[in-house]
């Protein structure tokens, strides 16, 4: 852990958004990013997180960091592996 990211990272709060809408919204949020940008997504822990991560991975996007919150998880995701700047 402890990676740093360049530029400002926006957050999208998808807590309380049910499946599969949360997964669709997570994917869309990444879709509009530039190649080296990231976004921070807040997702409910459990099945919601699993569904969202599966659809992010299926779309070919990458998660570069994750941190647990209360009953939720914040993930930082971007379009490609190259977008990750340690």
């Amino acid at each position: 852990m402890g990676k740093q990211y360049q530029g400002k990272i926006e957050s999208v709060d998808l807590r309380g958004v049910s499946c599969p809408v949360n997964a669709i919204m997570a994917k869309r949020a990444i879709e509009v990013l530039g190649e080296d940008e990231h976004i921070r997504l807040l997702l409910d822990a459990g099945e919601s997180l699993i569904r969202a991560v599966r659809s992010i991975k299926d779309a070919g996007y990458h998660i570069v960091k994750s941190e647990p919150l209360d009953n939720a998880v914040a993930i930082v995701a971007g379009k490609g592996k190259t977008a990750c700047r340690p």
């Binding site: 852990m1 990676k3 997180l49 991560v53 990458h62 998660i63 570069v64 960091k65 994750s66």
Partner: protein, 301 residues
């Protein structure tokens, strides 16, 4: 001939059960792993129209039942079904139809070939007499769609993850995504030359594929792949969840040896009408597991 003069035990053995209505029977059909082809389905439709009341009932164990068949038509209906390859199921104290989920053949999450294994179980054990009813289920992964742990014997597809230091970006996702919270990050090298490592609490892990399929970089690899064999599950009047007999059994042959040994142990130890799980509780789980695994290893019946 009245219902009372028919041999009810013999009828149950061939999947026919007396209804509340005098002279009427339920015909329980066999569908191994819930599978049937359309020609078989068409024949079931014909028979249900001709001898039943034009409807069927889907059982909770993936079977089809034709209700309201008069006792005088049971044999004719059975023969017409058999001509299309539709076999009768089983009732009473014996091995019932084997249930299975679609498994690796079509399901993205499937780890094992559930269809092949359920057919093999059917060929080996179907209708064999037991101390009480005996149910087998095969489920392709830890999602457990066929509820393996509610069956006398359940087989569940399983993987054992292995952490690969070189692939890991230390993103931390696996810690949050494991449904059993079985993954932890530890300081220090685990022998792969990294100053940290991720480790699994094996007692908590259910051998699902969540970490191996969702790690963004493939750092959770599938170490071993196989079957978790569960024994002694039952629902009904006195429910009991199955106990793990053995995890990650890699070869099909070893699974069959364990199931053979379990069935043989139950026949030796089970009281009449006592379900397998209740025999296990009466004798003691550890003793039972030791004896079954011993039998399976030695190949003794």
């Amino acid at each position: 001939m009245s219902g009372k003069t028919l041999d009810q035990a013999a009828l149950k053995k061939t999947g026919m059960m007396r209804q509340v209505q005098p002279d009427y029977y339920v015909m329980r059909l066999k569908a191994v792993g819930g599978d049937m082809n359309v020609l078989q389905l068409a024949r079931i439709v014909e028979v249900a129209e001709k001898y039943g009341r034009g409807h069927v009932h889907l059982s909770t164990r993936q079977g089809i039942e034709i209700h309201y068949v008069n006792k005088d038509n049971l044999e004719a209906a059975r023969v017409e079904l058999a001509e299309a390859g539709v076999e009768m199921g089983a009732c009473g104290p014996r091995v019932r139809s084997v249930v299975a989920c679609p498994g690796a053949e079509t399901c993205r999450l499937g780890v094992i070939d559930t269809k092949a294994m359920s057919r093999e179980f059917d060929a080996r054990y179907f209708k064999q007499d037991m101390p009480a009813k005996f149910k087998l289920a095969v489920t392709g992964c830890s999602s457990n769609c066929t509820k393996a742990n509610e069956n006398d014997i359940g087989v569940r597809g399983a993987i054992e993850p292995r952490w690969v230091a070189d692939e890991c970006t230390d993103c931390g996702l696996c810690v949050s995504i494991c449904p059993l919270e079985a993954i932890g990050r530890r300081d220090g090298d685990d022998g792969q030359g990294s100053d940290y490592h991720y480790a699994i609490d094996e007692a908590a892990c259910i051998n699902c594929t969540i970490c191996t399929s969702l790690c963004p970089t493939g750092a959770w690899a599938v170490g071993r792949k196989g079957h978790t064999v569960l024994i002694g599950g039952t629902m009904g009047r006195k429910p009991r969840f199955a106990s793990v007999l053995k995890r990650i059994v890699e070869s099909d042959e070893e699974v069959y040896a364990l199931v053979d040994a379990s069935i043989s142990w139950y026949r030796d130890n089970g009281l009449k009408k006592e379900r397998f799980g209740h025999t296990i509780d009466r004798v003691g789980l550890e003793k039972c597991k030791e004896e079954i695994i011993g039998k399976a290893v030695s190949g003794k019946d």
